[in-house]
């Protein structure tokens, strides 16, 4: 833990990940999904967690909630400090009281994430009654007003709708309603817009931002889409091979990315200028069954040196820039070609 990390985890921190490592232990191999991740989220901050699939971002969120796939998913090191407690040390029944109540999670696929046999209204009520002692009618009223808050038209009728009767965007709104009904302090949103149409994506992001400031929550927004993150996040952390390779306030990341992977990601965003030649990061995602001795990005890095292949780079702060750290032995200046 560097001095940077310690300073980050001040009294303002909503949640604190310290050296979190997650392994998926299966019969024939072990996948090192998350490697010594340290992160802090301040209250009412939106932190974007960006990376390609397999980078460990979803596992990080699941580890926070204690929802790692059983029986092979395990937290093998580190802590998750929330509300003065280490979540990784809590029992499942203790965690259950926090889930949906103080920390909520929204998932990528709204269709399969809701039980098809129950109305969306009843599923919201279920979330309420799991934590509060409310009568059915009271809970229903609460649910209906939440449906209204997420801008679902005719909320009272929609209360009795089944998931398959709603469009993708509405389903995701229903999921958000379920997640936020008890006004949690932290929302983990795992690719909330990836499965939706482009036009709807913007609406959902706006909704999350709106509710975030209304409810004064912190949001961990997980996505592989940098463009999404630029719109809504205060800070962005880039993950690769289960580690954070760069973290910075949003605009800084886009103006002055230091890590070659981040640079590659930013260059990959299509713009009106760069239609003719799309940038591509060469190579393939890393094999997580073996922890790399050097930098995990080395096989694909255009600036790789011998040191990169043998020594694992540490997370170092950028001098003169507040809150900007990255890990690279051979950073190059960023040029928008």
């Amino acid at each position: 833990m560097t001095s940077r990390d310690r300073a980050e985890s001040g009294p303002d921190s909503l949640i604190d990940l310290r050296g979190l490592s997650v392994e998926l232990r299966m019969r024939k191999r072990t996948v090192h999904a998350v490697n010594a991740v340290s992160l802090s989220l301040a209250k009412e901050e939106t932190l974007g967690l960006v990376g390609e699939s397999g980078s460990g971002k979803t596992m990080t969120a699941l580890a926070i909630m204690g929802l790692l796939p059983a029986p092979f998913g395990k937290v093998v090191a580190g802590e998750v400090i929330f509300d003065g407690k280490d979540l990784t040390a809590l029992s499942d029944s203790e965690l259950r009281k926090i889930r949906g109540n103080q920390i909520s999670m929204v998932f990528q696929e709204p269709m399969t994430s809701l039980d098809p046999l129950f109305t969306i209204g009843s599923q919201i009520v279920e979330a309420i009654r799991a934590h509060r002692d409310l009568g059915r009618q009271e809970a229903k009223e609460l649910a209906v007003s939440m449906l209204e808050r997420v801008h679902i038209p005719s909320p009272r009728q929609r209360f009795d709708s089944y998931p398959h009767e709603l469009s993708g965007g509405m389903r995701q709104r229903a999921m958000i309603a379920t997640a936020l009904i008890l006004q949690p302090e932290l929302l983990l949103a795992d690719e909330p817009t990836t499965a939706l149409d482009v036009t709807v994506q913007a609406q959902i992001l706006d909704l999350i931002a709106e509710l975030k400031s209304e409810l004064r929550m912190g949001v961990l927004l997980i996505t592989h889409n940098l463009a999404v993150v630029r719109e809504v996040a205060n800070r962005v952390a880039v993950m690769y091979a289960g580690e954070i390779v760069e973290i910075a306030p949003t605009e800084r990341l886009f103006e002055d990315p230091r890590h070659p992977y981040t640079q590659g990601l930013i260059l990959s965003i299509p713009t009106s200028r760069r239609v003719s030649h799309l940038h591509v990061i060469p190579g393939r995602p890393p094999d997580l069954t073996r922890l790399a001795t050097g930098c995990p990005f080395a096989p694909r890095c255009p600036y790789v040196t011998n040191r990169c292949e043998s020594e694992h780079p540490r997370l170092e702060p950028v001098s003169g820039a507040d809150g900007h750290s990255f890990r690279c032995w051979n950073p190059q200046a960023f040029s928008r070609a």
Binding site: M65, L67, D92, R96, K97, I98, R99, G100, N101, S104, M105, F107, E109, T112, S113, L114, D115, P116, L117, F118, E126, A127, A130, H131, Y162, H164, E165, M175, T178, A179
Partner: protein, 306 residues
């Protein structure tokens, strides 16, 4: 929905028609006729011929079929050539008995198999799971009639706990229903287990946990309900199969049900009874399938629209 019902109705009528023709022909094609069973074997040939003529058995088969159909539309469904009891009476008595037997067997099977299937899935690979699967495999392999004999040996002859033949009261029902339930029990348990396992891997379970819902509620209110869908849709087939397969069990225990009487009536060539029972059996199977399809639609809201 309406369209579906109509289509099914049409299908049922067609199948019943084909069945009635096939049954009619099958019974009359073979040598031997009911006359021998009705009359004394030493009766004169004249008496035989006279009886045949009176029963209309001397006509060509297709003509007999038309007479048969004509009678049905006139409301005359005939009577047993041997006992003289009207066909509706026969159908009702025997049919009801078989229904009781099959129904009880299914009840026993589901009452045991469903909770065990849930348990096996929830405690996967535990001793419960392995034991349940072992017994399921056993249940699917053991021939029911052999099991019946073993149980008769054990409970009836040696321990004298339960009666071993005939019908009458609840005690007579226990052994045959239990034996009949074994195969359904095994199949249902396996199916419930795999259905549960499939559901447990679904996304909505993850959402439920993320909402902080209690584990017990997740299993019994959500997962089980979803997992039961394939079982419900299979119930119709199960009932049809049970009613048919009950023949053997009925024979061993001398339970006077549909199957037992059907075999007997075919052997003694009591055409009206054999036809009536066969058609009833066909209708029962068709209805069971139909009900299963309907139940499926009721249980799964995704199927209700259109």
């Amino acid at each position: 929905m309406i369209g579906f019902i109509l289509k099914r109705l049409l299908y049922t009528i067609v199948v019943m028609f084909i069945a009635s023709v096939a049954i009619f022909y099958a019974l009359r094609v073979a040598p031997g006729d009911p006359v021998n069973a009705i009359l004394n074997p030493t009766a004169m040939e004249q008496a035989r011929a006279a009886l045949r003529a009176r029963l209309g058995l001397d006509l060509p088969i297709w003509e007999q079929y038309f007479v048969y159909v004509k009678h049905i539309f006139q409301g005359d469904t005939g009577e047993s050539l041997l006992t003289g009891k009207t066909i509706p009476h026969v159908l009702a008595t025997y049919g009801l008995r078989s229904l009781v037997l099959a129904g009880t067997a299914l009840l026993i099977a589901y009452a045991i198999a469903i909770p065990l299937g849930v348990l096996a899935a929830v405690r996967r690979n535990s001793i419960w799971d392995q034991a349940a699967m072992f017994f399921a495999n056993l249940g699917m392999g053991i021939p029911s009639f052999w099991l019946a004999l073993l149980l008769i040996l054990l409970f009836g002859a040696t321990l004298h706990w339960l009666p071993i033949e005939g019908s009458g009261d609840l005690r007579h029902l226990i052994l045959p229903a239990s034996v009949l339930s074994v195969e359904s029990l095994a199949v249902t348990m396996r199916l419930m287990r795999s259905s549960m396992l499939e559901q447990l891997g679904q996304d909505y379970v993850r959402t439920l946990r993320a909402k902080g819902v209690r584990g017990r509620r997740i299993i019994w209110v959500h997962v089980v309900r979803n997992a039961l869908i394939p079982i419900i849709s299979l119930t119709g087939l199960r009932i049809g199969w049970l009613i048919g397969y009950a023949v053997i069990v009925e024979t061993v225990f001398r339970w006077p049900g549909l199957g037992y009487e059907l075999v007997d009536s075919v052997i003694r060539r009591d055409y009206p009874v054999a036809q009536g029972l066969s058609l009833l059996l066909t209708l029962a199977v068709l209805s069971a399938n139909f009900l299963a399809n309907m139940a499926y639609a009721v249980v799964d809201p995704r199927l209700r629209k259109g």
